[in-house]
Amino acid sequence: MTLLDVENLWVQFPTRQGLFDAVRGVSFSLGKERLGIVGESGSGKSMTGRAILRLIRPPGIVKADHIDLEGQDLLKKSEKEMRSVRGQRISMVMQDPKFSLNPVMTVGDQLVEAYRLAHGSARKGATQAALEALDSVSIRNPERVMRAYPHEMSGGMGQRIMIAMMLIPNPQILIADEPTSALDVSVQRQVLSIMDRLVVDRGMGLIFISHDLNLVADFCDRVLIMYAGRVVEVCDADKLHQATHPYTRGLLNSLPRLDVPKERLEVLQRDPAWAEAPSVSGRVR
């Protein structure tokens, strides 16, 4: 079943040198699966995620044949109608919890607010739900965390709180934009497995945006590899290491590996043709 269907998505920004194309004709569909989008900085992966939620503000331009969420075109919705999509049906977790949580509200107040906005329920039930939400992301001692302010939390805890908050309205799709890049390696896996478990249990679709090829290979079902605003290759995550596009191969080979020591690392030789070739479609029909 297709939750989200994006066809021919373009994101453009006017500059003094004319229009700059940040995303160029990207198409993909998302079912109840974990879809990874990988690429280097500037490849347009974050812009793709933001464009789906229509978070790109003028003068930025978003164009697409359609961005269908269960058959409804998000591009045709008014700004007011979009508000019932953002957070409620499609949630987003950003890179750094320090900038996503309100620094002057306790964690508990923020969770309760999110719950009441989503479900319109009384304060008492909301507090209980917030405690359960914290519990579901493996936070020990949720009562104490409810009273704490974001700066008292470590990065890993902050990100788990973000995930708990984003899942409160029971969205159908979660967009996670580099959710673990600001975290330590040891905490990364833990946060990811929590997110993974919640997404699978609830039958949600996950768009996982990352620059880390190994992480995506481990945690996703399908991967789109982006370069210069285009999708250059689509492959199954477990076959990522057998990817064929020279860009993907180049990225994989430039990683140092502890088990395969070598004197010099391979340096990616960029081919201008990669940026010119049309996008590969990531739609499943």
Partner: protein, 259 residues
């Protein structure tokens, strides 16, 4: 010897740290960031410090360069213990490259100004020729000389930061997560550059990273830190063969290669 707590080396030691304690604040607010760290780095060797954020690995580098003021223990460079106040000559021997190339360059100083001023402070006279040579050494070339940081990519900025560190012709380069803000393809270029520079200039490296694979690529030996203490010092070869003895190191290994 693998797995011993104090890594002593045969031969001359270029940098020696013994019973190093570093703390911030005082009284009730005192935080002990590093406790009893000891290690030796031989001349021309490259030594890694790994551990998670808050384990004190960067603080050790900052204590060595004199950026962290409150420390006790012994830090010796080339056999000579350094005091709390560093002489100018110290910075001709030891230089540091920081993590974030976006934050470590002055936004309104051109590459030429950054390198020229550094050379001037080191007391060189032939500044013009040296700027050209430095840019050449880090693979940038003369056309980047009059650019400002915003006109450079992340990798190019890090090359400028490395050139600045090399300006005083140091013997020890302290590298604090030099590639963690960069894309993997750019990381490969910078790591190759660091490998080449060490061979050309006979440099000694101390590199801090959270990435075991990066440390494993550059370094031959490493210290693993946890909660302000060095828990294990070992050869990278032993690490590759999974001969880590401390449970925390084994944990790190599992997380980095999924073994």
């Amino acid at each position: 010897m693998t797995g011993t707590k104090t890594g002593t080396m045969t031969g001359t030691s270029m940098l020696s740290v013994k019973d190093l304690d570093v703390w911030f604040g005082h009284g009730d607010d005192r935080v002990d960031a590093v406790q009893g760290a000891s290690f030796d780095v031989a001349k021309g060797e490259s030594f890694g410090l790994v551990g998670e954020s808050g384990s004190g690995k960067s603080t050790i580098l900052r204590a060595i360069t004199g950026l962290a003021k409150d420390w006790s223990g012994t830090i010796a460079v080339d056999g000579e213990p350094v005091g709390h106040k560093r002489a100018k000559s110290f910075y001709r021997k030891v230089q540091m490259v920081f993590q974030d190339p976006y934050a470590s360059l002055h936004p309104r100083h051109s590459v030429d100004a950054v390198l020229g001023e550094t050379l001037h402070l080191h007391g060189f006279k032939d500044i013009d020729a040296r700027v050209v040579k430095l840019l050449d050494d880090v693979g940038l070339g003369n056309r980047f000389r009059f650019r400002y940081p915003h006109q450079l990519s992340g990798g190019q900025r890090q090359r400028v930061a490395i050139a600045r560190a090399l300006a005083g012709e140091p013997e020890i380069l302290l590298l604090d997560e030099p590639t963690s803000a960069l894309d993997v393809s750019v990381q490969a270029e910078i790591l190759n550059l660091l490998t080449d520079l060490r061979a050309e200039h006979g440099l000694t490296y101390v590199m801090v990273s959270h990435d075991l694979a990066v440390v494993g690529h550059i370094c031959a030996r490493l210290a693993v830190m946890k909660d302000a203490r060095v828990v294990e010092i070992m050869d990278v070869d032993a690490l590759r063969k999974r001969r880590a003895t401390h449970p925390y190191t084994q944990d790190l290994l599992r997380n980095s290669i999924g073994a």
